[in-house]
């Protein structure tokens, strides 16, 4: 069984990886590339179910064991079931028909819980960034001073009020972004890319095996 459980996946990862690389350089193999991509998407869809299951089972365990905060887990399940039921109903078309985005409970819950809650969660960060900036943003060193000056110039240059201070502020801000910022980003981009390529090669050649999971899962 070790061959099926550990060696076969490594061989498969190698073959899939080589196919992924070669199809880029062989135009005649575009059909293989398209089909491989379709397979990827189908398997990926199944993997999303795993993620959702993991979340829900964690909350279910909390409810069953009456752990601290289990009431909130019940609220999570309530929200899930409400949206799930509306999803199955699909505005009276049922789960076998294409999704109805024109109305219905699923759209109502999306518009009135998911959208405002999601937007609010991230908007909280505006307060925390202001508080953090006030307490910790200090020009203690020349490098920190460069950071501070760049931040102030960009913050003034990107909003209309900057023009009232000086007509050169927006121009300076644009130059800062397009030249020194761009150069630094490009350096980071190239460096990160070389690292990503090294990691991808490690996966393809079986050196990196974290995705295989624990050996305790071997039966």
């Amino acid at each position: 069984m070790p061959f099926l459980q550990r060696t076969l996946p490594l061989i498969l990862a190698f073959v899939a990886g080589i196919v992924g690389i070669l199809t880029f350089y062989i135009p005649a193999a575009s059909g293989i590339e398209t089909e491989g991509a379709t397979w990827y998407r189908i398997i990926f869809a199944f993997s999303m179910i795993l993620g959702i299951h993991s979340l829900l089972s964690m909350h279910w365990r909390r409810i069953r064991r009456r752990q601290a905060g289990w009431g909130y887990s019940a609220v999570t399940w309530f929200g899930f079931l409400a949206m799930f039921i509306f999803g199955v109903w699909n505005n009276s078309h049922g789960p076998g028909a294409p999704i109805d985005l024109q109305g219905g409970g699923m759209v109502w819950l999306y518009d009135h819980i998911q959208v405002p809650a999601g937007a609010t969660m991230f908007s909280l960060l505006a307060f925390f960034i202001a508080s953090a900036a006030y307490r910790t943003f200090r020009a203690r060193t020349p490098e920190a001073a460069i950071l501070l000056v760049a931040a102030v110039v960009v913050m003034l240059g990107r909003v209309p009020i900057g023009v009232y201070l000086s007509e050169h502020v927006p121009t300076l801000s644009q130059w800062l972004m397009a030249t020194p910022n761009m150069a630094a980003r490009r350096g980071i981009l190239i460096g990160v890319t070389l690292g990503a390529i090294a990691t991808s090669l490690r996966i393809i050649f079986g050196i990196e095996r974290a995705y295989l999971g624990e050996e305790s899962e071997d039966v």
Binding site: S30, E33, T34, A37, T38, Y40, R41, F44, A45, M48, A97, P98, I99, L101, V107, Y110, D111, Q114, V115, P116, A117, G118, A119, M121, F122, S123, A126, F127, I129, A130, S131, A133, Y134, R135, F137, R138, A139, L148, A151, V152, M155, L156, R158, V159, P160, I161, V163, P170, Q174, M177, A178, N181, M182, R185, R186, L189
Partner: protein
């Protein structure tokens, strides 16, 4: 002075709240001038020819958490497209983007009397992230055999003549992270060399300047300010332009906080030293 740096953070929260609330309630005019990166997208879309059947693909790769920044720019560009009677194909790489994209497309289409199927369509979402772009690149129907409503692509006027991404006159990706602009560059623009414009949250905008300079990106709409500039260019100020008032005041307040914090810090160090 040292005590001022340890102020209860809820006072800072209150100051930020007031600095955003007051300019929302009080109207005053701030001129918005388009930057070169935004103007590039406007010029490219303006140059498209509806009579030649030019089609714009818009990828709404964002969810509710970044709606405020990205919805205004999506609406502004859509208004430009519909005003020029260009055909529009919508798609999203994120499951939470489906409802948002559908709402934006139908709301703006209603403003211009655009008809679904004839003037615009929405493909919907498929799992796979960047691999979906790969599928669409070679053969659109390998990724989407139907639109989001279940209609075969060959039955829709907009998509009947389209075979792959290479048939798009312009692609605009509006994204909040992954999957997004970088994936469209790597898996789409890199091979099919279509004109790719990007809209993104302000957090991500600095990352994309290398692609602007290399020409891989045609233009960039960065955050709410980018949206305000595009609204100004199309002559239809909306949520983004009105958002520039609280944005400006908020920025000034935060800058003052930073400067004051530094003054207090250095003053307390000097006081402690002497």
């Amino acid at each position: 002075m040292a005590n001022l740096t340890n102020i209860d953070r809820r006072w800072i929260f209150l100051a930020v709240f007031i600095s955003v609330l007051v300019p929302l309630l009080v109207g005053f005019h701030l001129p918005v001038k388009a930057s070169p990166n935004v103007r590039a997208i406007y010029t490219s879309i303006d140059a498209l020819d509806a009579k030649a059947g030019d089609t714009v693909l818009m990828s709404f790769d964002f969810g509710p958490s970044t709606l405020t920044e990205l919805q205004p720019m999506a609406k502004a560009v859509l208004r430009h497209c519909f005003r020029k009677k260009l055909k529009v194909v919508g798609v999203t790489l994120l499951p939470e983007g489906v409802g948002i994209a559908e709402t934006i497309l139908s709301d703006v289409a209603a403003e211009f009397g655009a008809t679904y199927g004839e003037d615009y369509i929405f493909l919907g979402y498929k799992a796979g992230n960047e691999v979906l772009i790969l599928n669409m690149g070679e053969e659109l129907r390998a990724a989407f055999s139907t639109d989001v409503r279940g209609t075969p692509l060959d039955d829709l006027t907009v998509t009947r003549p389209l075979r792959s991404l290479g048939d798009m006159a312009y692609v605009l990706d509006i994204s909040a992270g992954y999957p997004g602009v970088e994936e469209w560059i790597q898996y789409g623009q890199e091979r099919y060399r279509f004109k790719l414009g990007a809209g993104c949250t302000a957090v991500m905008a600095p990352d994309f300047f290398p692609f602007l300079q290399s020409g891989q990106l045609d233009g960039l709409l960065g955050g709410l300010a980018g949206a305000a500039e595009y609204e100004t260019l199309i002559g239809q100020p909306d949520a983004a332009v009105s958002g520039m008032r609280p944005q400006s005041v908020g920025h000034v307040v935060i800058i003052l906080f930073i400067l004051f914090g530094n003054v207090a810090y250095f003053a307390s160090r000097r006081g402690g030293g002497s």
